[in-house]
Symmetry: C2
Subunit: 592 residues, 2 copies
Amino acid sequence: MSLQYRTVHCGEVGKEHVGQEIILNGWVQKRRDLGGVIFIDFRDRTGIVQIVFNPEHDKGAWEIADKVRSEYVLAVRGTVVERSPEAVNPKLKTGEVEVYVSEIHILNDAKTPPFQIEDEIDVDEQVRLKYRYLDLRRPEMQRSLILRSKAAKAFRDFLDAQGFVEVETPMLTKSTPEGAREYVVPSRVHPGEFFVLPQSPQLFKQLLMVSGMERYYQIARCFRDEDLRADRQPEFTQVDIETSFLSMEQLLPMMEEMVAHVFKATIGVEVPTPFPRLTYAEAMERYGSDKPDIRFGMELTDVSDLVAGSDFKVFASAVAAGGQVKAINAKGCGHYSRKEADDLGKFASRYGAKGLAWIGFKDGEVKGPIAKFFSEDVFTAMKERLAVEDGDLLLFVADKPKVVADALGALRSKLGAELGLIDHSQFAFLWVVDFPLVEWDEESQRYIALHHPFTRPRDEDMHLLETDPGKVRAQAYDMVLNGYELGGGSMRIYKRDVQEKMFRTLGLTEEEAKQKFGFLLDAFDYGTPPHGGIALGLDRLIMLLAGRNNLREVIAFPKTASASDLMVDAPGPVDAKQLAELNIATTLKEEE
Amino acid sequence: MSLQYRTVHCGEVGKEHVGQEIILNGWVQKRRDLGGVIFIDFRDRTGIVQIVFNPEHDKGAWEIADKVRSEYVLAVRGTVVERSPEAVNPKLKTGEVEVYVSEIHILNDAKTPPFQIEDEIDVDEQVRLKYRYLDLRRPEMQRSLILRSKAAKAFRDFLDAQGFVEVETPMLTKSTPEGAREYVVPSRVHPGEFFVLPQSPQLFKQLLMVSGMERYYQIARCFRDEDLRADRQPEFTQVDIETSFLSMEQLLPMMEEMVAHVFKATIGVEVPTPFPRLTYAEAMERYGSDKPDIRFGMELTDVSDLVAGSDFKVFASAVAAGGQVKAINAKGCGHYSRKEADDLGKFASRYGAKGLAWIGFKDGEVKGPIAKFFSEDVFTAMKERLAVEDGDLLLFVADKPKVVADALGALRSKLGAELGLIDHSQFAFLWVVDFPLVEWDEESQRYIALHHPFTRPRDEDMHLLETDPGKVRAQAYDMVLNGYELGGGSMRIYKRDVQEKMFRTLGLTEEEAKQKFGFLLDAFDYGTPPHGGIALGLDRLIMLLAGRNNLREVIAFPKTASASDLMVDAPGPVDAKQLAELNIATTLKEEE
């Protein structure tokens, strides 16, 4: 038996090992000297166990142990001993035992790390990212990465059992449509030409359906050169799925089962199926969001009819102009000061609202600057419609439906969190369906695809595709969890003529369509089956599974908000020779 | 029950379904009309079944069927019927039954494809690559991709069971050492700087060991901007593995078990373990290759001692100059003409040999221009040493050991194949171990790492690292199968001072080492465990598993030898605006 390799993991030493000689490998979490005896909290991936060096038992081992410091790497041989009742440490899983060490090897030493290797440290994230290899040593980070690995396996197990074939698609590929900014890769062999890193394997997965693969999946790395937010990374991972011959009504339940399997296999949570469904129209109407958090109510309620004829001009004119007036009920906020209400107004204005009106109901009275404009009858109707009780606060936005939805939707989310309305133990899944196929883009003065240009219109709306595209509903669906879009997909167009119509609707000339997607149009000529699929964002799913609130907590080596890797210091300069070989040059001025 | 979705796959319809009504989805492989009845070979991913349209049974279905052509996509409902004994088709798995169709939907039509959708077509590969979505419809390509998916799953199942954690490492990263030419990705956010696409996750996997992950794996996409050969692709996939605390003697058996599991789970072949091992020196000595095909003998045999004193100057002077003379025995080739022998000589010269001497043994006589230089005693000794029988041919190369190995090694491979010495049903694994740590590079006048600069020297050779690095053997190993290097790995350096010595040996200044690998050196300061790993080329492994001889046969969407994707037409031009945003420009002259 080699001393180097462990016979048991630290976190797994228990009463069943008492009396046994074991070998452990790991790191020194903490060293204490008590009355000449050295106690070390000894850590590996699984947890911590106490190892003991008593000079009276083994002077040699004790002398070596006397030299070790935090984060030294050791291999030790010792005997497992039951602790006396008063020495039991209930905070440790291994707290009923300790290991009397007879042999110790220092495998490596360690400087004092820049932060403690333990959970809940208060350290600047930049430091954590620079020393990511130490940050990942912390138990909560290890748990996240292990959870991620388990979740990926659970996805694969489910999909393999359902006859899906995992196919790897290219990373060095061509521009994909309608998307975010792309990363490009200069080609050395083809001067002046570039590969593009994929935003998704969309075209390849559709071509795999043309090829008769029938059920494809891939846990695929994708790339987007966008300005980053807490929930965006330049490279991200998606569970990418495509099927042939299935209708939406067959695919969606399968995807629900898949996600339920992953939750069960990783965190033991039973996810009820089927998921509720909301149409896009209903989601916007009731929650002001196409990814509503349905763990709480506070729904947006239309009061346009009640206030249309009122003396409050802002409301009356908004309705007269074809807009609407909606309200949410901030339960128990009737005591808010004018300042507090104004702060909510400022928040709403970030979402386009020109103002936020409010009415408080407190001690039988109606408060607020606009209260005077409405009759008792209107209040009664409002109170009924919004289930107002004494102590509540109504918040109103009057504008175009889009602005009303955005502003009140954002306010609803903010207040839901602040008022503690959210049950954080709950996983509230839903599907949002019946998205519009296209929307009019004022800036470019053309229709753009809401999902992507390969999304199939609903059969009954197909006839509107060329006459009134804004009215066409898509066979598209988003999976939403707790206010996050986990992913989305659609049934795809599989007839060449429909795809060509769609491209025309989006303003592509025949030539542009051919140049960009000729191979797909050609493929449609050779027997393309009906197909559709979905892509789920793995990073975000793991974030929610792990109960974290930042993608960087569930990615081993993430980029910062400025798309840098602080540990390896990337991006960085490249040899002029290398650039010359690639037939490119930087266009920076010298002084830059 | 929707008509669209199948109740059973085509290839799985059997006698057990007789009398049942089923739904099938798939493609028309072939249509035949016999006496007014239409027979269609109907295909999906699983195989083919015959479906029958009889106008006397169902006129409507027959009329639709009359319109279909090859590669039309259909959904059909019908009843499974047993064929009469004389109608049984023994070539089809489903040949004992057929399906009488009562309902048919044409889901999509198809033009005549550019080649037949069947195995063993004789079509230019360029055409196959351009219409890859049709090429992948062919059964042998589908089998390859399904095999690949199964193999990946088998790797994962094994590694998951052994406590490995799958961790995704970045694709947008920094230059890695000592390697091939790299693909670069301009950064928009950091003008003038570039990411690099990884040649391997080497540094990240080592840092994961620093982070205490202990057992890591990833089926990782890697990139190499090299000129391509049949067994190279610009992007490729490796099964990437790293472990802590294990010695080489613990890791290698685990990797053997893993590969044996994959072979068993995918093609049902039992791979015997442990794998034989050859030192690098022995592999070069006996086979003239560090990745020998040991399915046949024809070993390189040293005859320097026999010919050193001979009158044949070429041999004598080679030995006198410190070189060697070696021979292989081409069994049964004693009848080769001078022309045939000369052709072998030309082949050998491509590998650096200045000449190829030969002696034939035929009908008790010794043939060949150099035969006259040697005594009967020498022939007797040669015959014994090389097990020469009547009818054999000895081929000699006299030169420096490297040239002798290269030339005779290549000849051995060529003749082994041509003479039919290879049992193609055999999978002959071995480990090649004890590689030199570094080799002297004449061109750059410095030592370069044979594996990479993180490879750990053997303990007993460590003292030579700074004094005689060429003599240091590495704790490195290659897994070899049937003459292909499946992959390789090493135990890694885990002490900062050793790593610094290694960088110095490779001619890096302290500053260069710090700039390139400072983060790794820093990491070694904080308690790095002993670690080591391996990377196996998945593409090549699948190629061998599938019995194919070209990587492109086991990659869904491969690149050509000029690194192009002929289907999507990548690489391609990029908008000037996009390049401007990235602060780069192409340096091509207008006329180019």
